[in-house]
């Protein structure tokens, strides 16, 4: 704007609120704010009026009342006499358990499939594109139901392990795959087992120090020391030696068929496995596409330049291509993790007791406190999402190309 077109100061007229670009934005914002306040006021007044006529009130007192129902997967102590609050916490932990498991598995699957889609092997490449397309184009709810049905229909019931001629047997005498879930051995921590654990933790620290040392040697002298085998040895050997020195304090508790079910060991519920696998395989297809795009985004010149420097193919991958590809891969990867967490609310379809199943399911049903329960549920998911986004922002800033 030139100084000529500027109106004289002090000649403010009311119409300028609409016509003058300097003031118009205030008008817009004022109107928008008023609209928002009006909408919320309207909703709030309705809510108050409706609650009054129904004789209800918003109150979170129900959270401290006994829940009265049982939950099949309890990461913390919980009985039907515990409060609704505790039931919600159990649900939150179950959500996190399945989300973490699915994220880890999806990453492994996705990276493998993404790399395989670029493999020189035609058959493998085609198979992987079938996998990716099949899972990306069918709703996750259907996949959850299908995998849950596979779990129940294909795996044998515990009854099949019984009798003279059982139709099913335990794998290696330790793992039982049943349609109620997988039963596996679980360690029993005897006296002195803490020594073994402490040794193991110390060896992890030792392995890290050794790797730092090799890097330093490499940078200082250019001498390449072996890393893989020594690291493995440092990790395992001391713990194993200590295990025998202490007289084998850690034993395994094997599952065995007692009564109606397998008892002992650790039990992963069928619903957990179904949800975990469904989410992992489904999201893995998306991650595969991200990984593929990330690797393709690294220009061929980079690979050729590295090759002309005399790097061997696996070093080209780990030192040149991957670090650059990761910059492209990680942001969508994290939003995929977010999707897994949000999609885990579909647990309700297979009866896995996540937070939607406890707080947003049985608690909501039994107490009838719909507004309170849904509000709490949203608050929980919002917290998780916002924290993950915050982490992502920090990461994005740290890997941003520093341009000069």
């Amino acid at each position: 704007m030139t100084s000529l077109s500027d109106p004289q100061a002090g000649s403010f007229r009311l119409s300028m609120l609409l016509n003058d670009t300097r003031y118009r934005s205030y008008t817009f914002q004022f109107v928008a704010l008023m609209c928002i306040i009006a909408v919320f006021g309207y909703l709030g007044l309705n809510l108050a009026a409706n609650l009054r006529t129904a004789g209800l009130s918003i109150s979170f007192d129900f959270l401290s009342a006994p829940s009265g129902y049982d939950i099949n997967q309890r990461p913390i102590d919980y009985t039907s006499q515990s409060t609704h609050l505790r039931a919600s916490i159990v649900g939150i932990m179950n959500t996190l358990i399945v989300a973490v498991l699915a994220c880890a598995t999806a990453t492994v699957l996705g990276v493998a499939a993404g790399v395989a889609r670029l493999s020189p092997n035609w058959l493998l490449r085609k198979m992987m594109s079938v996998y990716v397309e099949a899972f990306r184009n069918v709703p996750v709810l259907i996949w959850i139901l299908i995998i849950f049905s596979i779990m129940t229909a294909v795996l044998p019931p515990p009854n099949a392990f019984r009798g003279e001629n059982p139709t099913a047997t335990m794998v290696m005498g330790a793992f039982a795959f049943t349609n109620r879930g997988v039963y596996a051995p679980w360690p029993i921590w005897g006296d002195g087992s803490w020594v073994v654990v402490a040794t193991f933790l110390a060896s992890i620290a030792g392995a890290v120090i050794y790797r730092r040392h090799t890097t330093k040697v490499l940078f200082d002298t250019g001498r390449l020391m072996p890393r893989g085998w020594p690291t493995l040895a440092i990790l395992i050997l001391p713990a194993v030696v200590m295990f025998y020195v202490m007289g084998r304090p850690i034993t395994l508790d094997y599952p065995a068929l007692k009564g109606f079910n397998f008892q002992g060991g650790v039990n992963m519920l069928g619903s957990l496995i179904a949800l975990w696998f469904a989410l992992a395989i489904y999201t893995g297809a998306f991650i595969a596409e991200n990984v593929r795009a990330g690797i393709l985004a690294v220009s061929k010149g980079q690979t050729e330049a590295a090759a002309s420097l005399g790097l061997r193919p696996n070093r080209i991958m780990s030192l040149v291509v991957l670090p650059q590809a990761l910059r492209v891969i990680i942001p969508p990867l994290i939003s995929n993790y977010l999707n897994i967490t949000k999609n885990s609310s579909l647990a309700i379809a297979v009866g896995y007791m996540d937070v939607t199943g406890t707080l947003g399911g049985i608690t909501l049903n039994q107490t009838g406190r719909a507004i309170e329960c849904v509000l709490l549920l949203m608050a929980f998911y919002l917290t998780i999402s916002l924290s993950i986004s915050a982490v992502m922002n920090v990461y994005n800033n740290s890997v941003k190309l520093k341009e000069r």
Partner: protein, 425 residues
């Protein structure tokens, strides 16, 4: 000089020898693509084994399929203990899977026609080479489809459409003088037309009315998907512009809305639509469940589309904004003529991804007791005495329908990306 007479000089070319067997045709292809290295060979064998195993598992089931019985028990009788699918459930109940179980059977032609017309209406949007005048069909389609699917008198959608036309005409007539007044006048014009329409109870071209509750099956997924995506596009654009706006209050309203909606799972929003929304409306206002769900899914996808478009806006070079300013365009003109056409072009793949994701997510309405495709499978069909125990056939059918639609859309998106690539490679 050597004795030239003993020298041999070839004067004509030898005919090319055929390449070794290992370097031609099938063998070469096999060697390069399947057996180029020991690891590759192992991978080929493993993949082949997996495929073989899958085929062995699925083939008898498919080939022994029974298509003509009336219940699962009858299927089992026919199969005599052999493995085999009971596709009879599809032949018996296909109409319920597609249209829901209470849509009047003699009216199936209406949604079918609506579905076919969808392609006609979508074509001008999807293919830029078609004459622009065809966009009129696209504009008419929503009203036509509403009339076809819900039935009733055609005057209802007609008056709604007329309201929009009146608003557009009023706006155009007055926009030269003052934008704000024109907008206000347009709204009033539309309201007047709708009010008249509400008063005049004309019954013209009446189709048998169908209640929203009777709409179900894959048709419900399609309705939700198409409506919500098309409604959420304009909202998403506004939200994206709002989020990049200089006005702090508007910006923060948009940011809070987008982050809130993106932060919660769709299923909680559906719970809100189903269980909570009633408390926030006056008792005399009753929305259809389908309408409440459409509102919620639209808001949900608008937030995602807004983020995609914001990415597109951010990716435009700053020079474009400055160029628009230097031409003396105001904000609306700059956005309409310079910025949005380019930003939307960049955003198309992202928008298509959101659309596909949203279409798949419409299956979640089955959780709040709506009978969409998955709801039909899990509710009335599996609950029926005759078909209790049929899973794979139904899931396979549902997956197939979704796959065809979603795969089609993503193929289109890839084709479009090729078309729109204006840089020279």
């Amino acid at each position: 000089m050597a004795d030239l007479s003993r020298a041999f000089v070839r004067r004509d070319m030898l005919p090319a020898t055929p390449p070794p067997v290992g370097e031609t045709g099938l063998v070469k292809w096999l060697r390069e693509n399947l057996f180029s290295s020991p690891i590759n060979t192992v991978m080929t064998l493993v993949s082949a084994f997996v495929i073989w195993w899958l085929v062995l598992a699925v083939w008898p089931w498919l080939s022994n399929g029974v298509w003509t019985t009336t219940s699962l028990a009858a299927c089992r009788e026919v199969l005599q203990g052999k493995t085999g699918a009971c596709f009879s459930v599809l032949t018996e109940r296909w109409h319920q899977l597609l249209f829901g179980f209470t849509y009047p059977a003699d009216q199936y032609w209406r949604p079918t026609l609506g579905f076919v017309l969808l392609f006609v209406a979508a074509a001008p949007v999807l293919f830029f080479k078609l004459p622009r005048r065809l966009l009129i069909i696209t504009a008419v389609y929503p009203f036509l489809a509403f009339w076809l699917i819900w039935g009733g008198s055609i005057t209802v959608p007609l008056f709604v459409a007329l309201g929009f036309v009146a608003a557009a005409l009023t706006f155009q007539a007055l926009a030269k003088q003052a934008m704000a007044q024109a907008a206000l006048a347009a709204v009033i014009a539309a309201l007047v037309v709708w009010w008249i329409g509400g008063q005049a109870d004309l019954q013209v071209l009446v189709l048998e009315p169908v209640a929203s509750r009777d709409i179900g099956g894959f048709m419900l997924n399609m309705i939700l998907g198409v409506t919500c995506v098309s409604l959420s596009l304009p909202i998403g654009i506004l939200l994206a512009l709002g989020r990049r706006s200089d006005m702090p209050i508007i910006k923060w309203i948009c940011v809070i809305f987008i982050e809130f909606v993106r932060g919660v799972p769709l299923i909680t929003l559906l719970f809100v639509a189903n269980v909570v929304l009633g408390y926030f409306l006056p008792p005399e206002v009753t929305f259809d469940l389908i309408l409440r769900v459409i509102i919620m899914i639209t808001l949900f996808s608008a937030a995602y589309i807004a983020e995609v478009i914001r990415g597109g806006l951010a990716a435009l070079p700053k020079g474009q904004y400055e160029a628009a300013d230097s031409l003396g365009l105001d904000y609306a003109q700059a956005m309409r003529l310079i910025i949005l056409p380019q930003a939307l072009k960049i955003s198309i793949p992202g928008i298509v991804n959101v659309a596909v994701g949203l279409f798949k997510d419409t299956t979640l309405v089955s959780v709040i007791s709506m009978y969409d495709l998955v709801g039909m499978v899990r509710g009335p069909i599996q609950g029926a005495t005759e078909w209790n125990g049929v899973y794979w056939e139904l899931f396979a059918f549902a997956s197939l329908l979704f796959f065809v639609v979603c795969y089609g859309i993503s193929q289109y998106s890839q084709w479009l990306e090729q078309q729109l690539r204006t840089d020279h490679r």
